[in-house]
């Protein structure tokens, strides 16, 4: 049985020198996988490369055993992979509901079931469905962004720093939601700065440095590893 997502030996970057130096990643359907590492380690770059947003020069990405290296974002969405960028992840002049509809642009048929599912997970979005997303708070926008991604009923959800800029209370809530999403059988791959909290809910974690894998283990083991703690978790 092949993994949900497997990326091996990725090399690539934004045109100039390679930022990714042989990165590899694996996610299973029942896992929350967290990528941590210092600034500039290539965490977000790795996510973008997997999702086809920048060119992979060498290496391979497989989804359920099928090669999807350098596929277009549109094809990724059709495969059931959803991606939430770190910043600017809502359509500010569109309403909450329209934002969600855009997430399901490629899906045929009635959207009401999908909408209900998202509204159940984020009841606040149901209340605010007619509000312009650009006028909402940071935490609410993050819900819109995740809701938009969930509209395709993804098999794999990729989140780039979902808690960046949120208050501690909202960070806790966001991680709770991510656990709920994962419990529905959706594999989660995320990059996080709040490494301690993220690793605490993670099935496995990768520690990236200068574009290559430094450590890989279960969340608790990484948290317990003194070297990792000193390097990236601030002691």
């Amino acid at each position: 049985m092949s993994s949900l997502l497997e990326a091996k030996g990725l090399y690539g970057g934004y045109g100039g020198a390679d930022i990714l130096q042989g990165t590899h990643l694996r996610v299973e359907s029942d896992e929350i996988v967290v990528i941590v590492g210092p600034n500039g380690a290539g965490k977000s770059t790795a996510m973008k490369a997997v999702f086809g947003l920048l060119r992979i020069r060498e290496g391979e990405v497989r989804y359920r055993g099928e090669a999807i290296t350098n596929a277009k974002p549109e094809q990724m969405v059709r495969h059931g992979i959803a991606y939430v960028p770190q910043e600017k992840n809502v359509f500010p002049s569109l309403t909450v509901r329209e934002n969600l509809e855009m997430g399901a642009y490629l899906m045929k048929g009635d959207l009401s079931q999908r909408l209900d599912k998202v509204y159940t997970l984020f009841p606040k979005l149901a209340e605010r469905r007619r509000q312009q997303a650009g006028l909402m708070s940071g935490g609410e926008r993050q819900m819109v962004a995740m809701g938009r991604a969930l509209m395709i009923d993804p098999q794999l959800l990729m989140l780039d720093e979902p808690t960046a800029g949120l208050s501690p209370l909202l960070i806790d809530e966001t991680f709770e939601r991510i656990k709920e999403i994962n419990a529905q059988g959706i594999g989660v791959l995320m990059v996080e700065q709040n490494a301690k909290q993220a690793l605490a809910i993670a099935s496995r974690g990768y520690v990236l440095a200068t574009g290559s894998n430094r450590h890989e283990d279960t969340g608790p083991n990484l948290l317990a590893d003194p070297e990792v703690a000193e390097m990236f978790l601030g002691g």
Binding site: M76, K88, F91, L94, E98, E101, M102, I152
Partner: protein
């Protein structure tokens, strides 16, 4: 007083023309991030397409409108596919230069095909209605139709942008191109529809202008400045702002004739635009840039 009401009518007619042009300019800017300098000549070509259609089939003037809109929608997509699409991946400013060149190509084509002389859709003078209850103000049926049809087209664009999947996707792309791609919105199809609508509305502007005045190869180019002024006033990249911008510019241009020579009408549009650029470059309503 009657004078002012009369000028207000002329202003709203001109405003309707400008709005039709400015919505397209604004949409194209929102999606493709460049000021489309051939838009005035889209108007011209549209007006002449309408002229050929009605003279070929011996129809009355208003039939020029649907024919021009359909024709120009198709031509706009064609021009995008043949030229703009090829240079879209370079800087947007290269598109700007290309559209400037396209403006001259279209104008010379119009001159080659239809000649340089003034032409009209229908000969003869249309008698205005005398509205005694409004102090004897005159209203030409054509003017009324121009305003009503513009209103209908604006309503149509509004419904398209807020009620249809493709229209919402267009607003989404204008808001955040990267996120639209990540969501799986097919950019090329949205761009194509943008050109269809932009081209069709430009053609409507051209036909209105032709019905109101006359057809001439530079009719669109000379209207381009007020059209841009309207788009900037409304906040470029904002189709709704373009409506307000079009009406304000149109009415101001006509009202200005009370104070300054009519030859300087375009200067009024220009002055409002420059004032806007200095004071509030993002437009009355916040634009997307």
């Amino acid at each position: 007083m009657t004078d002012i009401l009369q000028l207000l009518i002329y202003g709203l007619v001109l405003g309707s023309v400008l709005t039709m042009g400015a919505i397209g300019v604004s949409m194209i800017f929102g999606i493709l991030r460049f000021a489309h300098f051939a838009h005035g000549d889209f108007m011209t070509l549209g007006a002449y397409l309408g002229l050929s259609f009605i003279s070929a089939f011996g129809l009355s003037s208003w039939w020029a409108l649907p024919a021009a809109m359909v024709g120009m929608g198709v031509i706009a997509v064609f021009i995008d596919q043949v030229l703009y699409r090829r240079i879209r991946r370079t800087q947007p400013v290269i598109l700007l230069i290309a559209s400037f060149g396209m403006a001259l190509i279209l104008r010379s084509l119009v001159q080659l095909i239809w000649g340089s002389d003034n032409q009209t859709y229908a000969s003869g003078i249309q008698f205005p209605w005398q509205l005694d209850w409004l102090g004897g103000m005159r209203l030409k049926p054509d003017h009324l139709w121009i305003m009503l049809i513009s209103l209908a087209l604006v309503a149509g664009v509004h419904l398209f942008l807020t009620r249809t999947r493709l229209g919402k996707a267009m607003r989404a792309m204008s808001d955040n191109m990267d996120l639209a791609l990540v969501s799986g919105i097919p950019a090329e199809r949205v761009i194509m529809v943008t050109w269809v609508i932009g081209g069709a509305l430009a053609a409507a502007a051209g036909v209105f202008l032709g019905i109101d005045t006359r057809l001439h190869p530079v009719m669109g180019w000379t209207t381009l400045l007020p059209v841009f002024a309207a788009a900037i006033l409304g906040g470029i990249g904002r189709p709704y702002g373009a409506i307000a911008g079009g009406m304000i510019i149109g009415v101001s241009m006509e009202m200005s004739t009370l104070l300054i020579p009519a030859a300087y009408k375009p200067a009024v549009a220009f002055a409002i635009m420059v004032g806007m650029l200095i004071l509030r470059p993002q437009g009355i309503f916040k634009g997307t840039v």
